[in-house]
Structures are given as C-alpha cells and as structure tokens.
C-alpha cells in the first residue's frame, strides 16, 4: 500500500487536498469550528459578500427536491466592513487557503468589494460570483453574458494581485464562451457550477415552496450536468477548473477530477453533515489505493474517450 498524494494546485494556489468548502453552504467558517478542524480542509470559500450588509430573501428559503435542494437565500450577508473586522481575525488561527466569494449588483459593486478587501493578507483568493442577479440589467446575471463576464473579471484583475477564480452559472447555452471570456479577462481559474434555476409548487396551497418563487438547485441531482459542464470548460480553456455540483463522496471527487477539475468544492454535502468534507478527505487515500492511483495531479482531466 502506497500513500497516495492528494495535494493539488490551482494555478499558484497549493491545496493540501482537493476539497474546498463552497460558498454559501459553509457560512463564514466559525459555524463549523465546533464540528471540524478547519486546518484539515483543502480550502474555504466564505459566503457571498456584497459591499453593504444585505437582508436576503424572505422565508421559506429552502426546500428539498429529488436528490437535491432548492434555495433562495438571496445572498444575505454582513457586508465587507464586518467581514474585515469579524471574519478575517477568526481565520488568522488557521492556515487553510481562504477565498472570499465576491458578489455585486453592478460591475462597480464587484470592484468595490475587491478594493476594500485587497489589502487583507489572510485572503488567498477571490472567487467572483458571476451569477448574482444584476438589478440594473433587470435581474440578468453577468455570467449569462460573455462580455459582462469579461469586463468584470478584467476590472477586478486591474485592481487585484490575488488569484481570481471566476465562478460560472450553469444556466447558459454555451458555457465555453463564458469560460473563454473569463479566461481572456485574466481569470486565474474557473469554478463551476453554481446552482440551476429551479422551482417547486405546493399543490395544496398552490404557492411556491420558496417565497422567492425561483431558487437554485444543488446536490446530487445536478452532478451529471455539472460533470459535463466541467469537462466542456476543461477542454475549452487552458486555466485550471474547479468542479462543483452534487459531490457527496470521495468517488464523486475523483469523477470531477478525471473529467478535468484540478480541485473541487462541496456545498450541499456540508449542509447535510458539517463533517462530510472531512469524511471525504479521509477516504480519498484509501479509495485511490484501491484504484491504484498515486497522485491526484496525475488524474486531472485524464478521461479516456474514444476507442
């Protein structure tokens, strides 16, 4: 039995292991402290943050769907000021790579968030949540449009020296176009997928199960779609890809990595059990041993097609 190497790199970011906590499903980190050792995880991405504090949507905000869940939290958040004052100090105790998920209702807001936090050394990378509804554009999200995507990423790269990870929405016709636009804008990596637009109706009351009517679908249900989109983007761009969508097991992690992901994020799994990621990380080496795999890095995009 060898001891498989589960380290991985996403451009300049070196992760202890390929499992990153996804944004919005892991709080700010402190919520998890009593359940897990935050030094054992590959990386952590905080809840999406706007410049100002934000109330979020009314309840009900969540509903379970077949093998998945629907959410419309509405990016409730504490804003950059409290983030800097309360959350950054919390993370000083840990050496795990920390990403901040950046949200904005307009291009300017994305820039303002990055500008405000750029000087914080504890932040290792910004993940740009391009799926936020843009109020000016009638609720359309920037990652539905290659030009918007390009311009936001370019603007951020101009003012930030940190690693910029562009997080894409799956709700588009040509994901490759959006991914290329982010790459051309200077993104250091691409993460996908965010949630799929979904809805559920209570047939008794005839009301939507979610107050906001529409929500985002996450969890195992979306895994095959997410793997497909990750593989498409992996083939379309030359920057690294971080895979997200329905990962609940070590097997799922390898599936995304073989399809082209350099690392993965887990979201709903942490909602199901705060220790899911730790259990997955613990299982990776023995799973790799069983399959005679030595290094995560050798597996990235190693899918065998044709023949």
């Amino acid at each position: 039995m060898s001891n498989p190497n589960i380290k991985t790199k996403v451009a300049n970011l070196e992760f202890k292991n390929p499992v990153i906590f996804a944004s919005g499903t892991s709080g700010y980190g402190y919520e998890l402290e009593k359940y897990i050792d935050l030094n054992q995880i590959g990386g952590f991405i905080s809840k999406g943050i706007y410049y100002n504090p934000r109330m979020g949507n009314e309840s009900p905000r969540i509903y379970e769907t077949p093998c998945g869940m629907l959410n419309a939290i509405g990016l409730q958040g504490i804003g950059v000021k409290r983030f800097k004052e309360e959350i950054i100090p919390f993370w000083e105790k840990y050496d795990t790579l920390l990403g901040v998920n950046v949200a904005g209702e307009s291009e300017e807001e994305y820039l303002k968030v990055v500008e405000y936090l750029e000087s914080e050394n504890r932040i290792d990378f910004f993940e740009i949540n391009l799926s936020c509804p843009n109020v000016q554009a009638g609720g359309k999200s920037p990652s539905w449009d290659p030009e918007k995507t390009n311009s936001i990423i370019r603007g951020i790269k101009d003012i930030s020296k940190k690693h910029i990870m562009a997080k894409l929405s799956p709700n588009v016709t040509y994901i490759e176009e959006i991914a290329k636009a982010a790459e051309e804008g200077g993104a250091d990596s691409i993460s996908l997928v965010n949630t799929f637009v979904g809805m559920s109706v209570d047939i008794k009351t005839r009301k939507p199960h979610i107050k906001n009517v529409f929500g985002g679908v996450s969890g195992p249900a979306i895994k095959p779609m997410a793997v497909a989109l990750v593989h498409k983007v992996f083939k379309a761009v030359s920057i690294p890809v971080v895979g997200i969508g329905g990962i609940v097991s070590a097997e799922d992690v390898l599936e995304f990595i073989i399809a082209g992901a350099s690392a993965v994020q887990i979201g709903t799994a942490t909602i199901i059990d705060p220790q899911s990621a730790i259990k997955i990380i613990d299982k990776l080496p023995s799973l790799m041993n069983k399959l005679s795999y030595d290094k995560i890095e050798d597996l990235i995009g190693s899918l065998k097609t044709g023949g």
Binding site: G24, T25, S26, G27, E31, L32, K34, Y35, I36, D37, K47, M55, G56, E58, S59, P60, R61, I62, Y63, E64, C67, G68, M69, N71, I73, Q76, G219, P220, V248, T268, T270, I271, I272, D273, P274, Q275
Partner: protein, 256 residues
C-alpha cells in the same frame, strides 16, 4: 470533534393517526438536553428517500435510563421514512442544538401546545413540577386523535382541548387563555402562536414561542431557516437554528 452520532432505535411507539415516537439511549444527550432544544436527524443508509436531515424537538427524557424520545407526525417523505424504521435501525443525530425555553420562579407558567407541538412541554412540565414551580399546560388538537401522552401528563395541571370536542374541552386553545402576569410558552402551528402573542400583547405577560421554520443544516451554515426578527440593530433575518428555536414573541415580525 462532535458531529452526527449514530444511534440505535431502542424502542418505537406507533400512536396511530400518523404520530410516532422513537427512543434512543445516550446519556451524554439525555443529561445535557433541555426543553426547547432540537436535534437534526438523518438516515444516511441507502434506503433514505431524502438527503437533508430534519429538525425535531426533544420530547420526553428518562434521565435515569439515559433515554430520550422524539415525537413526530408524518407530513412528508422524511417523516414517512422515519416512521417505517424499526427497533435496531440506526439513525444519525446531531444535537442538542439551539436555545431552550426560559423558566422563572416568580411567575406562573402557561404552556400552550398545539398538536405535535406538545414535544417540548412533556419534559418541561416534569422539570418545573420537580422544581416546585406553578404551571398549567393547555394542550389542543383537532380531535382526540391529536391528543397523546394523556396518562403521562399531570391531569390536574393540563387542560385538554379539541376543536371537535371529542376529547377534553371543545374549542381552540386560545379560548382557554387567562389574562394576567404569566410566563407563556408555546409551540405549535404558527397561526396559533401568533394568536397567543396577540392575546398577551398589551399585558404584563411575556410570551416565548418555538418556531418551526424549515431547516436544511441546523448548524448555521446555510441561512435557510431565517426569520424576520427585531434585533438591537433593527429588523434582521435571523437564523432560527442559531438564535432559536425559542424567541420572545415580541421580537418576531409576524407574517400577515
């Protein structure tokens, strides 16, 4: 670090009309739990038809035996699955979570339970009784099928109420409230709790309610269970699993 515990169902009770109790043995939990606290419970076996855990209040606690009870009603797939499990099956349980009901020596306590909302008052009524505190419990349901634990509850302190009069008094629990300076604790349908709050709004009584907001994580990471609450910093969407489930009724921004 502590996470979900795998606990064996050591006993099960089928109450009929879709009500069930499951019993678990864990002295760490039964020693530390207090009425109002809740657990996130999931079935992580292959057989589970749902993926998210579900929240349940602590019901009875048999501290000497290290045994605690979850009392629930089948309303969907998650509870249906739990209702089909048998003695010996394993569930994963996280908790006790959340805050708990306040108690106070100097005021009479009025507990008001609607249907399955009886859970927290089963143990609470025993605790306040042991402490020699004054209380009454008003326990209502649609019909006699919604009233359980009759022999467990102190009949001198409990007013049973059913909408159709098939058991106890006929009417709604709110018709049996008394004005005065009480500590009112309630758990049940939101509409009932709101009415109780309104009944006591301009009195000296304080009302505390246990909110059954839909939850996904129970650990505070998802912000799914937020409820509009008046805080020092103004109205905020507050996570019920973190600051609750018990709130002072006057902090709550009640739905129209």
């Amino acid at each position: 670090m502590k996470g979900y515990k795998k606990l064996r169902i050591i006993d099960k009770k089928e109450w009929g009309s879709g009500y069930f109790s499951l019993f678990f043995k864990d002295s760490e939990i039964s020693d530390s739990v207090f009425p109002g606290n809740f657990f996130m419970i999931k079935d992580s076996s292959l057989r589970s038809p749902v993926i998210l855990p579900r929240p349940f209040s602590i019901a009875r606690v048999f501290k000497d035996k290290g045994v605690f009870e979850i009392f629930f009603q089948v309303v969907g797939k998650g509870t249906e699955n739990f209702s089909k499990l048998k003695e010996g099956d394993i569930l994963e349980i996280l908790g006790p979570l959340g805050n708990n009901f306040p108690t106070e020596k100097n005021k009479k306590i009025i507990m008001v339970a609607g249907g399955r909302g009886i859970s927290p008052f089963l143990y609470l009524s025993k605790i306040v009784e042991e402490r020699g505190m004054d209380y009454i419990l008003i326990y209502g349901g649609k019909s006699k099928d919604d009233i359980r634990f009759v022999s467990y509850l102190n009949s001198e302190k409990t007013i049973f109420v059913t909408e159709d009069g098939s058991f106890g008094e006929k009417g709604l629990v709110t018709e049996f409230l008394q004005k005065g300076n009480f500590l009112v604790l309630t758990c049940g349908p939101e509409i009932m709790m709101k009415k109780i709050y309104e009944f006591y709004k301009n009195t000296e009584s304080e009302v505390f309610v246990s909110l059954e907001e839909r939850m996904a994580c129970g650990t505070g990471v998802c912000y799914g269970c937020a409820k509009k609450i008046r805080t020092e910093d103004g109205i905020k969407m507050v996570r019920v699993c973190q600051k609750g489930p018990v709130f002072n009724a006057k902090e709550i921004v009640w739905d129209e």
